[in-house]
């Protein structure tokens, strides 16, 4: 299926008529945005995995039941489901705090972040894991602006409004985030050309 030509509303319409492939296209189109949106709130990769699954399952249930009435607006709709589920979790977590390790990480959150698809790409995957860990180590406001700009494709103006700061503050946070990441990459000898794209 050509996912460039088909709009969200067309894909939704096809899915409701029974075309499974169209949902796969929607899932691939929005999986990263939904996941990042949730992660920004819950700040735990494994809870974000679970809530991403819950989000899409809730979307499927609504689409299957015929209650979906936001044709053409799939993206804000599915992101709103994700946001609400993440907020619900956050509120529950406040009532039932999780056990944390000495370094502050969740006691259950010790597995890999994502699955490496092929052994041949292990070197690249290791580098990517390191980069993700560098992002995790950034101060929260710098990490947040990276996630919003890179993975949610928000403009700096949108980020400023969403985080209730001036656009210059948002830009400044991004600049420091990039400088800090660069420093960490240098310290760990991660070079863009030689490791990400090995020859």
């Amino acid at each position: 299926m050509n996912n460039i030509e088909l709009s969200d509303s067309k894909l939704v319409s096809l899915y409701i008529k029974g075309n499974e492939e169209s949902f796969e296209v929607l899932l691939n189109r929005y999986k990263s945005k939904v996941f990042t949106n949730i992660y920004l709130i819950v700040k735990d990769t494994y809870i974000a995995e679970d809530l991403t699954q819950d989000t899409f399952i809730k979307a499927i249930k609504t689409l299957r039941s015929g209650r979906y009435n936001e044709e053409g607006k799939f993206k804000p709709w599915v992101l709103r489901i994700a946001h609400n589920l993440a907020i619900d979790h956050f509120r529950r977590k406040k009532r039932y705090p999780t056990i944390v390790m000495e370094d502050g990480s969740n006691v259950f959150n010790t597995l890999e972040f994502s699955e490496a698809p092929y052994e041949n790409f292990q070197v690249q995957e290791d580098t990517k894991k390191k980069l993700r860990s560098f992002i995790e180590e950034l101060p929260e406001n710098q990490r947040e602006v990276i996630l919003m700009r890179h993975y949610q494709e928000m403009s700096f103006q949108d980020i400023a409004e969403s985080t209730d700061v001036s656009i210059n503050t948002a830009l400044g946070r991004m600049r420091y985030a990039l400088i800090n990441l660069r420093k960490k990459m240098k310290q760990h000898k991660i070079a863009y050309d030689s490791n990400i794209y090995p020859t």
């Binding site: 996941f35 992660y39 990517k128 996630l147 993975y151 830009l171 990441l181």
Partner: protein, 78 residues
């Protein structure tokens, strides 16, 4: 040459959030100022590296979603 933009404008330039006019000024300044060019290259390569990092759910989560979808498809004979 008087520099009419800030380091924050350089960030906006890297992320394609500057106007055509601002782009011309910044491109000219980059050609005339080695220090600025080095900072630009450094920031740009970090941004390019970030694009290689994905925040996506695992394959097993995606499979679970797709399997759930298939299991609820009334149009398909099970």
């Amino acid at each position: 040459m008087i520099q009419t933009f800030t380091q924050l404008d350089l960030i906006r330039f890297i992320y394609n959030e500057t106007t055509t006019e601002q782009n011309r000024d910044i491109e000219l300044a980059l050609l005339c100022n080695n220090e600025l060019m080095e900072e630009y290259k450094s920031l740009k390569s970090t941004v390019a590296t970030l694009s290689e990092v994905s925040y996506t759910p695992s394959n097993s989560t995606l499979e679970n979603i797709l399997n759930y979808s298939k299991s609820t498809n009334l149009h398909t004979a099970h």
